[in-house]
Assembly symmetry: C2
Homo-oligomer: 490 residues x 2
Amino acid sequence: MAQVKITPRSDDYSRWYQDVIAYAELAEQAGVVKGCMVIRPHGFAIWEKIQADMDARFKATGHKNASFPMLIPMSFLEKEAEHVEGFAPELAIVTHAGGKELEEKYCIRPTSETIIGHFFSKWIDSYRDLPMLLNQWCNVMRWELRTRIFLRTSEFLWQEGHTAHATHEESKEEVHRMLQVYADFCKETMAMPVVCGTKSAHERFAGALDTLCIEAYMQDGKALQSGTSHDLGQNFGKAFDVMFQDQDGKRDYVWQTSWGTSTRLVGALIMAHSDDDGLVLPPKLAPIHVAIVPIYRKDEEKEAVVTEAKRIAEELRADGLTVEVDDREGIKPGAKYYEWERKGVPLRLEIGPRDLESKTVMSKLRVAELDERGRPQKVALPIEDIGVHVGRLLDEFQEFLYERALALREENTVSIDSWEEFVATFADGKSKFVYAHWDGTEATELAIKDATKATIRCVPLPGHGPAPEPGKCIKSGEPSAQRVLFARNY
Amino acid sequence: MAQVKITPRSDDYSRWYQDVIAYAELAEQAGVVKGCMVIRPHGFAIWEKIQADMDARFKATGHKNASFPMLIPMSFLEKEAEHVEGFAPELAIVTHAGGKELEEKYCIRPTSETIIGHFFSKWIDSYRDLPMLLNQWCNVMRWELRTRIFLRTSEFLWQEGHTAHATHEESKEEVHRMLQVYADFCKETMAMPVVCGTKSAHERFAGALDTLCIEAYMQDGKALQSGTSHDLGQNFGKAFDVMFQDQDGKRDYVWQTSWGTSTRLVGALIMAHSDDDGLVLPPKLAPIHVAIVPIYRKDEEKEAVVTEAKRIAEELRADGLTVEVDDREGIKPGAKYYEWERKGVPLRLEIGPRDLESKTVMSKLRVAELDERGRPQKVALPIEDIGVHVGRLLDEFQEFLYERALALREENTVSIDSWEEFVATFADGKSKFVYAHWDGTEATELAIKDATKATIRCVPLPGHGPAPEPGKCIKSGEPSAQRVLFARNY
């Protein structure tokens, strides 16, 4: 394969993002189905790893998976007034089926609070049935005008947790618990730090009392909402008559939550770590951990080198790693290097005749510091105990990516108290993570957005962002109890 | 929980099937969405195990997962004449989206040959791109008039493999390879024997040259088609212009296959193994392997017994088993036994004060022979090395279920040469697996179906069914080269 040129981030960040996806063969626009995408094997393998890791976290916190219909009667959506108002403009509607026009139209689920509320009302009768802790991995459809691959597509894959509880205290605990599960996943598995916070009323989920979120910092200074966790109060309980009898025989509506993350996380991963050479993946989500490239000039060298490469691959596979030995003919080592780099393989091993003699292999991490000659640092690893050395390098790389992403965010996080400085920070398409005071009104929120395109990403939870201190709203000058996080966003 | 009464199979097999599903809380009819079902956590956990096992088999044979849009432009279906004719009556159509009527209507995928054909044409250019071996786990929609939970629902979950090859020989190999993967899965994991064969032209997949299938024997004598593997020839290649250049520079259409299994397998599992006490599951697909019921009369006995039950559970979990300790208050042991039996837990352990003294636990497999007093056999297991004993019992139980299912099928498989006997065998709703001669014409096939409701399940592949020998058609008396499998079917 020929070496290809990925648009540098500094030239055009949006184009760079598309190039990274195209050259790593992660996904592509479906084209023939408006706003939808095809996730190709390399991209889907990343999503499978996200799913497996997250699913284990859901199960460890007591949740069980289930499957609900993808079609929802339109009358269901209308039972919760705010919910239908929020989702109606984005619905895809099934009007005909089995050769006939349907008496009641269905929408393809944009989210499943309504239909799950209906079944909760059938399954829940007593406090003994609570908490009910369900999750569903599925596809949903929201007809979007402007789409961007992985970040905003008409159809996307996601998980939606839906739980019912006996008290508001318990359901609020669940909302925070699952937000923390998301934050831990982002940090530990995606190597991506997030800010945890509460959405403003304007950005709240349609039908929720409160929406919590995790916001990730992308390399271009914008924020990406990477997961949300909603306190639904008794809104859907009342709409779908989900009642339970408590220990004293009193009947009340259940308190519900819902929480979700989606294939959007793959977009987050790309914009958190990748570079001008293409995709960069943390080892915990890499479909291929190690690419081994045998190096030889003469045919008589080939057999010994390839044999040893395959033996090392088997040794590493026994440790649970996925390893490719790239012994394709007719492609130069340099071209192979570029290809594996573009695909985000965390570690490359090169092995040639001299390495056989010295019983070492040359290793290069996907992101490496430059050596004294200005070339990416390579490190010789002893073949003996290669698994230990590779394991250590991958662990360090996972940690390195997190630290690098955190440092980048910290460098680009500022507290601002002057409106002029605020406007300048977001001028010409620029963005940072800006903590500033806000008077708490929707009018001011929208005025700031109109003037700067910066939105309130969240009101940080304790431990996130600067410690709360009273101040004056950056725009209106009215009193404010704490700074909130502003950024442009995807 | 109160003991519930499952309708005995001899009273009403269809009602029994529904009762087993309801009392094991596997799934239920959605009701509000026509023909669709909700898969509840216990049922979904079985499906997850089916998926995990089968997915590993697909990956071991070189296939990769991907994700394609759930909506397909109607014009795509029309590109393959037989395909659209076969599926048009069952389509659900999206006519409106984003608040507007769509210029081109979409259907919700009933299967994905067409849209995947479209992308194959973009991705395949040279013999070096072949074979392309993809699989997709997803939901599909076929608007069915008569539905039956798990067996035939409007929406169902499935996997669909789609592959493209350079020669017909290679694609035919793939068709057989994946049928064998299905047959191995059914035998090794579901403990369910299947007959492998070829469908008659009448039962073929719309758009295929040939459809291979696995047919499983259900306890009531009917057959359940449990998976299909299609030789698509160049039909979709031509419809979607999927061409490749071979090593000599010649361009030709690719040869494609597709193959699928679905949540219908959960129905097969139920009807292959379960009994009048409810669900019976092979250990390899059981969400819970072992239920431990602590037995005590006095409070002072309780702590020691429950503590030991939990210790044993931890020991078994360390071996990878899923174990429930049922220490619920206010429910008698007998009621607990019924509940775990209904849910299909393969092994129950009972532990009481006397067991602590003798350092044993009483064990009972879900299906056990009766002892001399006419009660289900229980076996005392030493607590020392409990994991070894439990592991052995579960392995034996997995094997036992397969042998039992095979024996039942063999008892009810006959070769018939007289039309009167054939008619009598299928009279009054009865069914067996009947091998009989057929003249190979659709007219005879339909005449037999009209007269008896028995259908040709398949023309057995070599090694399945009786060895080929020439004979005369059971209905027309015309010559026949081999017997084919007849049965009523789900």
